[in-house]
Amino acid sequence: MKVGFYPGCSMKGGAREYQESVSALAKVFDIELVEIPDWNCCGATAAHNLNKELSLSLPARIMALAEREGISDIVVPCAACYNRLSIVKHELEADKSLSTRVASIIDLKYEGTTQILNIIQFIDKYITDRLEEKVVKPFDYKAACYYGCLLVRPHSILKFDRVEDPQSMDVLVKKAGGDAIDWAYKTECCGAGMSVSRTDTVARLSGNIMKDAVDRAAEVVVVACPMCHSNLDMRRPEINKFLNEKIDIPILYISQVLGLAVGLDAKTLGLNRHMTEVNLPVKPVREIPVAKEPKKVVNTQKLEA
């Protein structure tokens, strides 16, 4: 199986472990990730604040290059890149003249035939069916799944998961043997690009997120976005200073969680690259749970028949 891969800037820099873990996980499931040749920046937050055509052209070029290579699915692990690519695809689909204009700017044929998949959609399409049979080391931890803002919004365009209380990552964590806890900050803002300019704001926003996760006894926070990761992980000293306590639970990518569950080692998954040390408590080996029929719950809220 061949799937297109768009790394974006972060996979090559601050989030190398994200790419390492996605690649390693894909390998376990015999999926070949093909990096789009000559890819460029997606434009991220800067382009669409400055120049509309630039913000459309950058992602369009990436997709056009993928089309040229005959790639039908592109996995975009970074939530911001995923968001930009999806929105541009949507806008060009809705406006054919704009699509023609953009094609002339990038000087490439653009059809809009490629599917843009975020990391969870990629896993659901290619891995989830075979995931449970491959789990050898259940990820037996209380995990707070943090989705952030860009993965599920705007719902009208992305049409992915429930926008206010997403569940897709929780389901994956449960399939990996984990306990996805119910918590309140799943989609709250982490501070995002304010990381450098307003570190105090990031410390406050990310601090609230971490505080709620820890209050609810989470042992790990699971993310699917390099920006969220860097704020929750790299800004931990500032967060701890803001909260005036010492929070030391690690932040893992969903690909790392699944990688651990299917038996990949910490180094392959790049766990050593995190700022906050990944020091998950060793738990007694558990029997791999056999999938049981879900317990029938009587819905007490049922309306009159």
């Binding site: 119910d182 309140a184 809220q301 009159e304």
Partner: protein
């Protein structure tokens, strides 16, 4: 040779300002077959009509063309005038030279010419018109009321009190509907049950009303005045004549933990149950899905304890066929399902409840005997948040309309809460307060000013649980949109009112139209609010759109008057402009070949099968036949008929072709 009269109206200056009416009358007066022509300032006025009548008599006219406004406006006026002068009214046609000509064109010779063309076309048509007689249909003077909530009850009582028979069908084991679940009603705070139950009893005891509870309408055939309805009476597993309603079975039933629908899941009921103490009829039914006997094959405790031996485990559903002349739909509404609000935790947190659940908590007959206790631990909530517009007016949630009743009941809830928990603090998050209605705004003011409810203008973004408290996060838009968080003990969501779950299927069964939200559609939003597009079927209450009690009752009485007016005639008269399948001498019988394409496209189910038999009683041909009572004259069948066997009275193929040819042959 025809003797047609042409009457050109000036309509004050509406027509004469751009059309030379004298010229139109003069030119068209010279057409072949036109005996008389004239123009007049107001044809519809009394002198105008007299002019028409006199001319018919004096010139022995056998056809009339009135060139004036739209036939939608005055066709009945002029046809009536013709009839009074002894001319068959269907030999009178209108030529619309106002909307189709003078209003849309400038003053010009071409405008006058167009008016002449329009009149000429109609003159040619009238030459082909045939004298038609109105169709008479008998009326069955019994009404069917579907739904036994307050709207259905009101409609049934009003019709029955006019002296007509009523059959009421209710899906639940008891009538009463949502109103029986309410605690107190705005804006007067009178107890809902106290004003409702006398009406329920009246329905049960009324000599003109037959009540079928635990029943559903399965099939509706026929047409206005002559509907045939099949009602499925679901088995109650009980002989109702023997049952005295002592209630012993309900106390002895070992199956006690079934969520009580009437209490909206806040309490439990046994498998054999009466929905609530004041139920009408006050006799139990067995819920077969949860009854131990039907699940495991043994138990029968109710049968053993029943003093009158009324339990019937082998009782089957019964199909009752009734003939009715009119139908009132009063099937009510529902509230939104919990999975709509993942961000509000409805269905996830026990202390996030909906408005109807709060009604049960506040009701003296409810699970807490009217004390406000939160469902999770039974403690009295000291801080409570009401969220208005939970789902309503929210395009993202797919409901763009205002549910109308929530502003008022939320104000009532806050007031009731304050009356019961004096040291409690109620908050209301709202978008706007819509309190249009008699004494409504004053009621909301009382909630705010006298009872000290904190009204916060803003929406709630999320609700989550932390340390046993519900954290309600929202914005106060009157304070510049500052984010606020309230640590509440309980949250009440004013969930949107939506159409009943089975509304779409029922609409299709009964053949009425419905809107995109599955609410039943009225014939005209302003002037025909209780009629549907199907003659003889009327609407009452919240099955049409969210309505409060006074509005539902008013609509029900309106529908009842429509039914009574219908029943005031022994026969119904309707226009004979219906389709007709031609008939010819044997052995052809008709050019109809019996393909029944017409049947598949007829929107009114008006096409029937007619079998032609020989003397031995053998079927030799099957033909289509139009039921004149059902046919609305839309002409879809005519367009589809492959052998041109169907035609429409008043708009025959020949007439339409004549009109076209008249234009082309100019």
């Amino acid at each position: 040779m025809s003797r047609i009269g042409v009457f050109v109206c000036h309509c004050g200056e509406n027509i004469s300002a751009t059309v030379n009416c004298e010229k139109v009358a003069k030119i068209t007066g010279e057409l072949k077959g036109v005996e008389f022509s004239t123009d007049y300032k107001y044809m519809c006025s009394d002198p105008g009509q007299t002019l028409l009548k006199e001319a018919i008599k004096e010139h022995k006219l056998d056809g009339v063309v009135v060139a004036a406004c739209s036939p939608r406006m005055h066709e009945p006026t002029f046809r009536k005038a013709c009839a009074e002068a002894g001319l068959n009214p269907f030999l009178c046609e209108m030529s619309n030279i106002r909307e189709h000509c003078s209003w849309v064109h400038p003053k010009d010779d071409l405008t006058t010419e167009k008016a002449q063309d329009l009149v000429r076309v109609m003159v040619e048509k009238v030459k082909k018109n045939k004298a038609l007689n109105s169709i008479k249909v008998p009326v069955t003077k019994t009404a069917l009321v579907i739904g036994g909530g307050i709207a259905g009850i009101q409609a049934a009582l009003d019709i029955a009190n006019c002296g007509h028979k009523v059959i009421m069908v209710e899906k639940q084991p008891s009538i009463g509907g949502h109103m029986s679940q309410l605690s107190e009603t705005f804006p007067t705070l009178d107890c809902s049950q106290c004003i409702l139950t006398p009406r329920m009893v009246e329905v049960a005891q009324h000599p003109n009303i037959t009540l079928h509870t635990y029943s559903e309408v399965e099939v509706v055939d026929g047409f206005i005045g002559n509907f045939k309805v099949k009602i499925r009476k679901k088995s109650k597993s009980l002989d109702e004549h023997l049952c005295t309603g002592c209630g012993l079975c309900t106390t002895k039933c070992p199956q006690k933990k079934i969520p009580n629908e009437f209490e909206r899941g806040l309490g439990f009921r046994p498998a054999i149950y009466v929905p609530f103490p004041q139920a009408v009829p006050n006799k139990p039914v067995i819920d077969r899905e949860n009854c131990t006997y039907y699940i495991k094959g043994k138990c029968k405790v109710c049968e053993i304890v029943c003093p009158t031996k009324a339990i019937r485990f082998d009782q089957e559903d019964e199909i009752v066929e009734v003939a009715v002349g009119a139908i009132v739909l009063a099937t009510g509404f529902d509230v939104l399902q919990p999975d709509f609000f993942p961000e509000y935790g409805y269905g996830k947190y026990k202390d996030v409840i909906d408005g109807l659940q709060f009604e049960r908590l506040a009701s003296a007959s409810g699970p807490t005997q009217g004390q406000i206790r939160r469902p999770s631990d039974g403690k009295e909530p000291k801080k409570i948040v009401f969220v208005a517009c939970a789902g309503s007016r929210d395009p993202a949630k797919g409901i763009e309309y205002c549910s109308k009743i929530c502003c008022m009941y939320t104000a009532k809830h806050a007031m009731l809460y304050k009356h019961k928990v004096h040291d409690g603090t109620p908050y209301v998050f709202y978008m706007d307060i819509r309190a249009g209605g008699k004494m409504y705004e004053e009621f909301v003011r009382r909630t705010i000013v006298e009872d000290g409810t904190h009204y916060v203008r803003g929406r709630v973004s999320t609700i989550y649980e932390k340390n046993g408290k519900l954290i309600v996060r929202g914005a106060d838009t009157l304070m510049g949109g500052i984010p606020i968080e309230i640590e509440a003990d309980m949250v009440v969501l004013a969930t949107a009112g939506v159409a009943n779950k089975g509304a779409e299927e029922l609409a299709q069964t009964v053949h009425v139209s419905y809107d995109s939200y599955k609410f039943f559609a009225e014939a005209h939003p302003k002037l025909k609010p209780v009629e549907t597009n199907t003659a003889g079927i009327f609407l009452a209450g919240a099955c049409q759109a969210p309505k409060d009690i006074p509005e539902s009752v008013a609509a029900a009485s309106g529908a009842a008057v429509k039914v009574a007016a219908l029943f005031s005639n022994d026969e119904l008269t309707r226009d004979p402009l219906v389709a007709l399948v031609n008939r010819q001498p044997a052995p052809v019988f008709s050019t109809c070949v019996g393909c029944f394409l017409c049947q598949s496209v007829c929107p009114y189910q008006a096409i029937e099968r007619e079998e032609i038999k020989n003397r031995n009683g053998e079927v030799i041909k099957t033909l289509a036949r139009v039921n004149e009572g059902l046919c609305q004259g839309c002409g879809t069948c005519v367009a589809l008929c492959r052998t041109k066997a169907i035609d429409i009275h008043g708009y025959s193929n020949q007439q339409v072709y004549t009109e076209i040819m008249a234009l082309l042959n100019d």
